[in-house]
């Protein structure tokens, strides 16, 4: 009996027998055989984690858009809610509408994952930068609300779980993301984004326990 293998309680038990005598002396055949044994051990042990087996993926489906904002020469904020509405303070004025970001978790097996996100971001027009703060998320595509509204979870930083999402079936798990733009009022006009020099995007991390 060359060997046997039993997996129980998450531990792997292995019982080795006496050496196997191979009828050929070709080393390459023996090496191939060892590889087969190696692979068999991994597969039998059920060693592939559920995450890989279920192919769970994190996808960004929509970015944050604050739209057009008129800036007087004084500080102000534009607070974007996960429902896409914007409220302004100080020297910032706009039409009150933007669009929230959206992430999606795909995969099967009803696996629950931890989602964390960065606490700040930066948008730039290549000349000036504007801070993006108060980044927050809400679970569910249809649960958008005003900033700090019901069900909102603030981003705490990468590695610090803000929300948990569970894969299907049958539904796809989604979350909305919003943030607040903080301007000094002295910024030059133009298009600002996280992709320009000096910009820093919002980082979303998914951890599959």
């Amino acid at each position: 009996m060359p060997f046997g293998l039993i997996r129980a309680g998450g531990l792997i038990y292995l019982r080795l027998g006496t050496p196997v005598q191979i009828s050929t002396n070709q080393k390459r055949i023996a090496a191939a055989l060892r590889m087969v044994v190696f692979t068999a051990i991994v597969m039998i042990a059920g060693g592939l984690p559920d995450a890989l087996a279920q192919n769970i993926k994190l996808r960004v489906r929509a970015d944050l858009e604050f739209g057009r904002i008129d800036v007087a020469n004084m500080p102000g904020t534009a607070a974007l809610g996960t429902n896409g509405t914007i409220s302004y303070t100080g020297g910032l004025v706009g039409d009150g509408f933007g669009s929230a970001g959206r992430i999606q978790i795909t995969g099967q097996g009803h696996t629950t994952v931890d989602i964390s996100c960065s606490t700040t971001a930066t948008i730039s027009n290549g000349l000036d930068t504007i801070d993006v703060t108060h980044i927050e998320m809400v679970l569910g595509r249809n649960n958008g609300t005003s900033p700090g509204g019901s069900g909102i979870s603030p981003c705490l930083g990468i590695g610090l779980t803000s929300i948990q999402m569970t894969t299907g079936p049958p539904t796809v798990s989604e979350a909305l993301i919003a943030a607040t733009l903080v301007a000094t009022g002295s910024e030059s006009g133009g298009s600002y984004d996280t992709g320009s020099t000096g910009g820093i995007p919002i980082i979303i991390e998914m951890v599959i326990p």
């Binding site: 080795l16 050496p19 080393k27 044994v37 948008i123 006009g189 992709g195 599959i208």
Partner: protein, 194 residues
Amino acid sequence: MYKVSLKSLALGVAAALAFVGITTGAQAQSDTVEVSATLRQAVTVTTQTDVSFGDVDVNLSGSGSLTLNPDGSFSTSGSDITSAGTGSITAGQIDITGANGVSIDVSCSAATVANASAETIAVPTNIANGTASSGTACGGVGATAITVSLTGGATSLHMGATLALANMGSVTTTGAFSSTNSGGAASTVQAVYQ
């Protein structure tokens, strides 16, 4: 004959266990959410010069008017404006700043001047981009009178006005009249992005 030794198998098993140990740990993925906004300098409206008719002699019971143009020129009609053009007679100037190259709608209201007795005279106003000899009548805040393009992010508007005897029906006392007196009202100029 070639032997697969116990040592060889043990190494394979150890490697397999190590692999299993690694792959059964927590898995992490990350992605980025981009953020964007378009900032536009807010429109500012600043009065540089107020409208002034200077000293005007009139027969209150008569008819006629004094028209002050945006470029500062003036003219009179009727014979009851007996003297004009003395003292300080100036058109108004309003500076507007905003985003470079964008179009802005400008609206403005009429004014009212009053004397110390709160007797009032309605003063229709008009406005022009630059120093035109005639302007477009101000129809009230929100009713676009002119549209200007902010070349270089700024422009200067000029305001004219008309002082008409027909609007002096309630006036019994001559003297200084101003929009700052009780009962008076300045012309309001509003500029908004199209």
